[in-house]
Amino acid sequence: MAYEVVIGLEVHTELKTESKIFCGCSTKFGADQNTNVCPVCLGLPGVLPVFNTKVLEFAVRTGLALNCEILPFSKFDRKNYYYPDLPKNFQTSQYDLPIAVNGYLDIEVNGETRRINITRVHMEEDAGKLVHAGSITKSEYALVDYNRTGVPLLEIVSEPDIRSADEAKAYLEKLKAILQYIDVSDCKMEEGSLRCDANISLRPAGATYLGTKSELKNLNSFKAVQRGLEYEVLRQTEVLEEGGKVVQETRTWDEGRGITASMRSKEQAHDYRYFPEPDLVPIVVDPVWIEDIRKKLPELPDARRARLINDHNLSSYDAGMITSSRAMADYFDNTLKAGADAKTAANWLMGEVSKHLNLSNCEVEDCPVTPEKLVELTKLLDKGTISGKIAKTVFEEMWSSGKDAATIVKEQGLVQISDEGAIIAVIEAVIAANPQSVADFQAGKDRAIGFLVGQVMKQTKGRANPEVVNKLLRERM
């Protein structure tokens, strides 16, 4: 039987505020264990949480960027469960009146645009971190660091509109891009500031009911999201094909073994007994304030991509790659401001710049070759001062030394030789030294000229203008 895959994602993102959601402790990542804690975030008796304005602003901004409706009246609730990373034995979260509802975002997979609806965006506090001595199942005790407890989180819940692991990845990438564009989160999956859980079920193709789902946890990278979901599709298909039933349960993705495994002990915890948080009063947002935040939203990835395609004639692929992160798109816009030709800048950005960023594991914000310096280099190339091959060498030197292109070209004598007199001397020597290639060429083997051009380039250390070399060689044979 053919099955349809049904996936909904729950994404948690840590907001980049200075202080925690309900107390003044710092949210800084990587501090020594239990140094960013106070009576409020440790859940000591008798304390009162006070809500951080910035969290509300970031939540509204996110809701608007995700095309949500902002609820005029919103409140916090207690989600009760026992786990040592939660010192109060409840998490302050939002239940029936979240800050934002009914949004969507559009993704593109295999050239097709799909709209994924967003059920809700709600605000909550993060939990602490458990450090296990040995494996989680075998260790006799756990150590707890409460620094992360109370760091503001948004939970963004999609409708079960996602139909494949590829779509799930595209959704997550788009969501990450939007969150970075609106500057509310770092979205570093490796530091846990963007985390993803997935609900996944299968149903016979064409059916409208929902099959029994499993809840997938520990999807800590884009690759894990994709591989974990692909595995789960296969597993559930196999269960159904064999006439079995999928069990509703929480499963964890085991990256090392490449499988999902049942987390039996978590099942019972699903009765969260939510009730309104008596220590926090409701939130009523002013529509004027909401409109003000809407007006200040930056240009979002879709709009920016459309601009690069329509105003700068970039291909849909190039525009998509460049706008997939705000930093990359800003870099590109800065090259335009510095006078770059759009297509040339895009080629460099997708080529040498991306290659070097990947090789040195560097973010585009920290790129040692600034947009302005890159434009200087491309201009030397346009003017014919240096050859395309030399330009790559110069770029590498700019990357490692931080010097500008003109200085490197001057210091290392890399100016392209277009002067025919200087090139002719080299060509004559090459012709004299390679009679066989010359004979081959004259016998009609056009390819032989490539070898001769190569020899001339080698002797001029890549500085000869290849077009001039080609022309002069043909004249002389």
Partner: protein, 96 residues
């Protein structure tokens, strides 16, 4: 709604409370009489009344996003039954 012995067991488990048979029976009876009493409220006509989100007539109590000093770690850990290396030490979590 009647609270059964099974409900009390389940709530006790969720709350990590251990209790003997006698206590279980006692709480089943007490919880039922509390709920019966509170059930009087269901006689009130609440048609068109907004659910109460908070008993105080307040909204938007907010603070600026500013960092304040946290507790010194020794103090933060001073009530912990067990600690190790600057961490709170707790019994193992998952029953394998």
């Amino acid at each position: 709604m009647k609270i059964t012995r099974k409900d009390v067991e389940s709530v006790a488990l969720l709350s990590r409370l251990e209790m003997d048979e006698a206590a279980m029976d006692k709480f089943t009876g007490q919880l039922n009489s509390i709920l019966e009493y509170v059930d009087m409220l269901s006689k009130v006509d609440t048609e068109g009344v907004e659910p109460t989100a908070h008993v105080l007539n307040l909204k938007n109590v907010l603070r600026a996003d500013a960092v304040k000093p946290s507790l010194p770690r020794e103090l933060a850990l001073s009530n912990a039954p067990e600690q190790e290396d600057g961490y709170f030490k707790v019994p193992k979590i998952m029953e394998g």
